[in-house]
């Protein structure tokens, strides 16, 4: 019977899709309820999971707050800001390595690996640990398994960086239904309760990336007109600048360089960030730093801070102007500006944005949370719960192929609405040629070597024939996630042509599969199992408490029936305890809690009486 119903209704109970902001510094998850999008807190009520991952001494991977604390004591086993390494190769992270204490494992030429203690992890695996923590928090909070997610990425992320983010989701046991650009998500969060028409600029200064997107809102359609940005510019740069200055200052005061002492640097970094954040609200603060018994102190004014960071803020204005130009708009045509990212709390950032766009920026939503909230809205769109909204995003970078002489022939231009496609016909250059290799790049430069290599596609097993006779039609399609799909067809036979993909950066499908297997074996517990374990822990606590209470005089104050009811509930809980059914365990815990209410009250009263007796008034 129930089988039939299951078939009839298909996969009926709608699975919950969460929205995740996988940030450089902090990560958040959100879900949609009847009232709108909400942030999912962890068990301790914290809304933010620091994007920090650590390998503990007993070989366990931990992410979030506990890992952040290990940053001070175990810096060599702990990694932060890993988003900066996503989808990148060893050769192009030299700049990051100078500024961040990443421990790159030896032999990282093909695939970047980080050394944590005695183990090595790729950036997607590190990100997966953060995602796993968010998934766990969501499952505990929502009381149901969470297997599907929308994850946000910087709008300016290239194909490899997007693919790496998707891989991280898979490794964490999440089906990534959609990658959404962070500024677009923010616009969605803001546009939800407003039936607005107009043009909105979203200025997103994150921890490690900067994005600017201009959208047109009309009848629930959020159409991105243009996007621009810098994946090497963010709040971290401000922190690093201040840190460098403080280190220099300390060196001249103490005649001691702390730059290579990672513990000292971490403590100083925290002090500097705290001072920076305070300066958004007060005109001057005291920067204090204690290390090995010595104390450093210095007054920092907002004026000085602004003078120091002005060049960084100015670097965001170029992409903003380019974005306006690409959208074909003047600053006057921008109706509203939305600010995203903690760094936009800095008054100088606000005034710079206001001056450029000639519009007062929106700040109603928490700039740290707005992206995750928007991701939850997109999740609701995908699950069909929100029907009147639709996002039309664009690809941030042009896609092209390398032609003769290393020149790029552009196939899909930047700021094209996605999904977008292009078709090219390829042929052979010599008689009997069996393969054609296509080098696909992303970027705006004319020469392939100045663009970002994306992948090499090998058209294989071409039927041998005279040069120029083969006609193979290749279709390049950028999907709604901003990720390239390539298919090929032999025009003469109409048959599908096999294509081998060799990504220039990042992992092959097989590598990701292996990581998924490994992560399931080594770490991931199944949702139900974890729930049972947690319910049992709670049962242990209450069972012990009731046991102890029985020797309290308050126990004797209960009626025989009340005592019998407690004993019954106690036995039922013990039975449930061994059943392995966490819902039953929780129900019995609740029952035992209810029947012991009076006992607890009696104990409390007697404790108060005792206490009062001992007090002379």
């Amino acid at each position: 019977m129930s089988q039939i119903f299951q078939i009839d209704f298909g996969s009926q109970k709608k699975a919950r899709v969460v929205g995740i902001d996988l940030g450089t510094t902090n990560s958040l998850a959100a879900y949609m309820d009847a009232a709108g999008p909400r942030i999912i807190p962890d068990a301790a009520g914290r809304r933010i999971v620091p994007s920090v991952v650590s390998l503990t001494e007993d070989g366990e991977i931990t992410a979030g707050e506990p890992a952040r604390n290990l940053l001070l004591s175990r810096p060599e086993r702990t990694v932060y800001s890993v988003k900066r390494l996503m989808g990148r190769g060893a050769a192009d992270v030299q700049d990051e390595l100078r500024r961040f204490p990443f421990h790159i494992a030896p032999g990282s030429e093909a695939v970047l690996r980080l050394q944590l203690g005695d183990r090595q992890f790729t950036p997607p695996e590190i990100s997966a640990a953060i995602l796993r923590q968010l998934k766990k928090n969501a499952e505990a909070f929502l009381g149901e398994p969470v297997n599907q997610a929308v994850i946000t990425v910087p709008a300016y992320f290239n194909d490899a960086q997007r693919q790496a983010t998707k891989d991280a989701g898979r490794i964490a046991g999440l089906e990534v239904l959609r990658l959404v650009n962070e500024p677009t998500a923010a616009a969605l969060a803001y546009g939800l309760d407003k039936r607005k028409q107009g043009v909105v600029a979203v200025y997103d200064l994150g921890g490690g990336t900067f994005d600017i997107s201009i959208l047109k809102l009309q009848d629930g359609i959020f159409e991105v007109l243009a996007t621009n940005g810098d994946t090497h510019l963010g709040g971290d740069d401000i922190d690093n600048l201040l840190l460098d200055i403080a280190l220099e200052d300390i060196q001249s005061e103490w005649s001691l360089s702390l730059a290579r002492d990672s513990a000292a640097v971490q403590i100083l970094r925290r002090a500097v960030i705290e001072a920076k954040e305070k300066l958004s609200f007060v005109p001057s603060v005291n920067l204090e730093f204690e290390f090995e018994g010595r104390k450093y102190q210095r007054e920092l004014t907002r004026e000085l801070l602004e003078r120091l960071i002005r060049p960084i803020i100015d670097r965001t204005l170029g992409p903003c102007r380019a974005c306006l130009r690409d959208a074909g708009l003047t600053p006057e045509q921008i109706d509203e500006v939305v600010l995203v990212g903690g760094s936009t709390r800095i008054p100088l950032v606000r005034s710079a944005v206001e001056t450029l766009f000639r519009a007062r920026p929106h700040t109603e939503l928490n700039p740290d949370e707005v992206v995750a909230l928007g991701a939850a809205v997109q999740a609701a769109i995908l699950s069909g719960d929100v029907e009147d909204k639709l996002l039309l995003d664009v690809t941030p970078l042009s896609l092209g192929i390398e032609t003769m002489g290393g020149v790029v022939s552009k196939l899909i231009h930047r700021n094209s609405t996605i999904p977008a496609s292009a078709t090219e016909v390829f042929t052979t250059a010599v008689d009997g040629q069996r393969n054609v290799l296509i080098h696909v790049v992303q970027g705006e430069r004319e020469l392939a070597k100045d663009c970002r290599s994306l992948a090499r596609f090998d058209l294989k097993d071409i039927e041998p024939m005279p040069a120029g006779m083969a006609r193979i039609e290749v279709r390049f399609l950028i999907d709604a996630n901003g990720i390239l799909n390539v298919t090929a067809r032999d025009l003469r036979t109409g048959k599908e042509q096999s294509v081998d993909v060799k990504p220039s950066y990042g992992l092959t499908d097989e590598q990701v599969e292996a990581m998924i297997r490994e992560s399931i074996e080594s770490a991931e517990e199944d949702f139900a199992e974890r729930q049972v374990r947690e319910a049992r822990l709670e049962a242990d606590t209450i069972l012990a408490a009731v046991d102890k209470a029985k020797s309290n005089p308050a126990w004797e104050e209960l009626s025989a029936e009340e005592r019998a009811a407690i004993d019954l509930a106690l036995n039922e809980l013990l039975l449930a305890y061994h059943s392995g059914d966490y819902l039953l365990i929780r129900a019995q815990i609740d029952k035992l809690n209810t029947v012991t209410m009076k006992l607890a009250e009696n104990m409390m009263n007697s404790a108060v009486r005792t206490a009062l007796k001992g007090t002379s008034i």
């Binding site: 009309q218 997109q378 069909g384 639709l390 999904p419 977008a420």
Partner: protein, 204 residues
């Protein structure tokens, strides 16, 4: 199975987006005009095109197909890609004209306007001289270049108006001769806008 039959129920479905019988999304047609259900005209009302684009986006976007069959998800992806490509091309008068020209067998593309249109020869000669002077550090060439820029922008506007007239002619007659005139005008226009761009770069 017949080409026009629904992949899901087999009913005769014609070339529409959805099957009339089972509502399944059908594989998209590749022709932009046919796909959008618009008459094959060179003059297009921008507001109408935008409304069609938004309406079809709502119907076809992959966000709406996540819980449907893999086949429909694939069709939704392909259809939306064509929709976006079509909108990008058809909303721009030059790209739109090139699209129709290419479909009518005109050769558009590589040999794009390298030859100077004869009526511009003298103009280009003078311009190159001024550009040389400015590059050589002679700022007195600046006003001349500014004038040239204004002239090119004026010529571009003229070309656009002429293009509009030719579009109307083609929509009325549908003849190849008008298409040939459009192609010649597009070459001239491209040449002018390249010149304007070059001057602008130097003046910055």
């Amino acid at each position: 199975m017949e080409k026009d039959n629904c992949w899901q129920c087999g009913h005769r479905s014609a070339a529409s987006l959805f099957c009339r019988f089972c509502n399944a999304l059908q594989p998209p047609v590749m022709d932009y005009y046919a796909f959008l259900g618009m008459p094959r005209r060179l003059k297009i009302e921008p507001g109408e095109l935008e409304a069609t684009f938004y309406r079809m986006s709502r119907l076809l976007h992959p966000d709406r197909y996540l819980r449907r069959t893999p086949r429909e998800r694939q069709y939704s992806l392909e259809a939306t890609a064509i929709l976006n490509d079509a909108y990008r091309v058809l909303r721009d008068p030059v790209k739109r004209a090139e699209y129709v020209l290419r479909q009518e067998g005109f050769n558009i593309g590589e040999q794009r306007g390298n030859d100077v249109p004869p009526e511009l020869l003298e103009e280009v000669f003078e311009l190159n001289e001024s550009l040389e002077e400015l590059r050589g550090g002679d700022q007195s060439a600046r006003p001349q270049l500014e004038q040239a820029r204004q002239r090119f922008l004026g010529m571009q506007r003229e070309a656009d108006q002429e293009l509009d007239r030719l579009f109307a002619d083609y929509d009325a007659r549908g003849d190849r001769q008008t298409l040939a005139s459009i192609r010649a005008l597009l070459n001239r226009r491209r040449y002018i806008s390249n010149l304007a761009g070059e001057v602008e770069k130097e003046l910055l």
